[in-house]
């Protein structure tokens, strides 16, 4: 079999679909402390069926072929569940499509001849590592402060051992959908991490298993959040940027629980439940 012939049984090559000729204006930065700047790249012949990250892969391959430094960007699962992809695309985190992570954004959302501006997320707590990749370790600090329940992790308990009203389970599930991508911080004019923290809090605070540590968790996670991030002024920009469409209703719950936590945690010290 010669190399040019398709393998027997492999699907027919995709029909050459519509392609786009794009210009990318990409933030390039050699390292955390190096100065950065936008650089323009021609990206001709981009298939509309590619995802945004596949488009960047193609551009990177071309750069490597020309012995130029490829663009560094974060990605992992590429199916919208891990929260590793990021990118400020034309002034919006994760680009123009609502409720969609960058890896799930397709090039058909763009038009031929477009210039696409790509910038890393900017926040004091998310330092640029290189080009478009930022360090989101600050989110881990918040989760470490209390985003868990302390249980004996033996064998898996029976399902439905603890009855939970459906509406409560649904709300907790909606909160648990947060993939920790950081788009909320990137979108927020204040660089606040309220949506992320409120989602992590709500998914445990709403459930029976989360009750014992509810107020300890709330105070610790909010205090850690405040050491690292800005403060919410209720713009609602995070909710619009979130690929999982986490609602800011959880931020109201965070505020309510934080006041309760401040009061309760003092009372707990005198053994009053």
């Amino acid at each position: 079999m010669t190399a040019t012939e398709p393998l027997s049984g492999s699907p027919a090559p995709a029909a050459p679909g519509r392609t786009l000729n794009l210009t990318l204006r990409v933030w390039r930065q050699a390292g955390p402390d190096a100065p950065g700047a936008f650089e323009d790249y021609d990206a001709p012949g981009i298939s509309v069926d590619m995802s945004f990250l596949e488009m960047l892969d193609v551009v990177n391959e071309r750069l490597v072929e020309q012995s130029r430094e490829p663009i560094t960007f974060d990605h992992d699962c590429r199916e919208g569940i891990c929260g590793t992809c990021s990118l400020m695309i034309n002034g919006r985190p994760h680009g123009p499509q609502r409720g969609t992570a960058t890896c799930q954004l397709h090039m058909r959302k763009f038009a031929d001849g477009d210039t696409i501006v790509i910038e890393p997320w900017r926040a004091e707590a998310f330092p640029v590592v290189r080009d478009l990749a930022v360090d989101r370790g600050a989110f881990d600090r918040i989760v470490e402060a209390g985003g868990y329940i302390t249980v004996n992790s033996g064998s898996a308990p029976d399902a439905n051992l603890i009855p939970i009203p459906k509406s409560v389970a649904d709300a907790a599930f909606d909160a648990a959908a947060c993939i920790g991508c950081g788009a909320c911080v990137a979108a927020c004019p204040n660089g606040a991490a309220q949506l992320f923290t409120s989602a992590k809090l709500a998914h445990l605070n709403l459930l029976p298993q989360g009750q014992a540590e509810r107020y300890k968790r709330t105070e610790a996670m909010v205090d850690t959040m405040e050491e690292l991030f800005g403060s919410c002024t209720n713009h609602g920009e995070c909710e619009a940027a979130c690929p999982k469409e986490i609602p800011i209703d959880f931020i109201a719950l965070l505020n309510k629980d934080y006041l309760r936590a401040k009061l309760k945690n003092r009372r707990y010290l005198s053994r009053k439940p």
Binding site: R25, W27, F38, M88, N90, G91, R92, V117, E119, R122, A123, E124, A125, P189, N190, G191, A192, V222, D223, E226, F229, G230, S231, C232, T233, N234, H235, G236, E237, E239, A240, A241, I248, D249, I251, A252, L253, L254, N255, K256, D257, Y258, L259, K262, L263, R266, Y268, L269, S270
Partner: protein, 258 residues
């Protein structure tokens, strides 16, 4: 006892509290309100509560001023009534001063918290986006709260000089409330200042009167749809009525004292 007179270094010889709770209980803490106010979430509670207090004042102030349309006698009677509240119990103006004290405290806290939060938020993004942001949900009002707040704050100082303290260049008669308003607002520039400031107040309230619900955790799926409507209605009412005074004086509908 012999041992008691030579106390051993506590770190090695006494057991002391061992649980986290016992150690936390011994930790020195600031009073609850101060500790709460130190947090950013606490500052937002303070912004919201003082915001509501000031909203209450702004509303009452507007209702009171509508008496301008009933003529000088009604208006001045109302101004005197404010000084007479609870009079047989309190001496004249005492209750008014208590209200004023509460209001001053609310303003000081509102501005202090706003300042504190602004500093926090500027530190949270020292490197700005180099490309243009495309906002989806944040509106003009929410992004200009600091500016609308500052305009309103400066206006309040001017307004106090204008109609409570000294007058601003017209024949100011202490206690002649109706006449003073009329004479001040007859000047087009002053009328313009009043209009601009109240538009800024309307903008501030368009976001603020919605924001309070989130800040205080008043979020209920059954009522959430009313929150934006409330903010629009409140901001709209205050703005329209307050802006009507300078316009009506300029138009010559009210304010002819003779």
């Amino acid at each position: 006892m012999a041992q008691a007179t030579t106390p051993a270094p506590s770190s090695t010889h006494t057991r002391g509290p061992v649980t986290g709770t016992a150690r936390d209980a011994n930790r020195k803490r600031a009073p609850f309100l101060i500790e709460f106010y130190r947090s950013a979430v606490g500052k937002k509670y303070v912004m919201a509560i003082t915001g509501i207090m000031i909203m209450g004042f702004v509303f009452a102030h507007m209702v009171g001023n509508v008496k301008m349309y009933l003529g000088p006698a009604e208006f001045d009677t109302y101004a005197e009534f404010l000084r007479q509240i609870l009079v047989p119990i309190f001496p004249r103006t005492l209750f008014l001063w208590l209200l004023r004290l509460g209001l001053i405290t609310a303003f000081v806290l509102h501005i202090h918290a706003a300042y504190g939060l602004t500093v926090i938020n500027h530190k949270a993004r020292p490197v700005k986006y180099a490309s243009k942001r495309d906002y989806v949900a944040a509106n003009y009002a929410s992004r200009t709260m600091r500016w609308s707040g500052i305009i309103v704050g400066l206006f309040i100082v001017f307004h106090l000089f204008d109609l409570s303290w000294t007058g601003t260049g017209f024949h100011y008669y202490r206690g002649a409330a109706y006449e003073n308003v009329a004479h001040s607002l007859e000047r087009p520039l002053v009328a313009l200042i009043y209009i601009v400031a109240n538009l800024a107040l309307g903008l501030h309230l368009f976001h603020g009167a919605w924001s309070i619900f989130q800040s205080l955790g008043w979020n209920n799926p059954r009522f959430n749809k009313w929150r934006r409507g409330f903010a629009i209605a409140f901001a709209g009412l205050i703005t329209v009525v307050n802006v009507s005074f300078p316009i009506m004086v300029q138009a010559g509908v009210v304010g002819h004292v003779g």
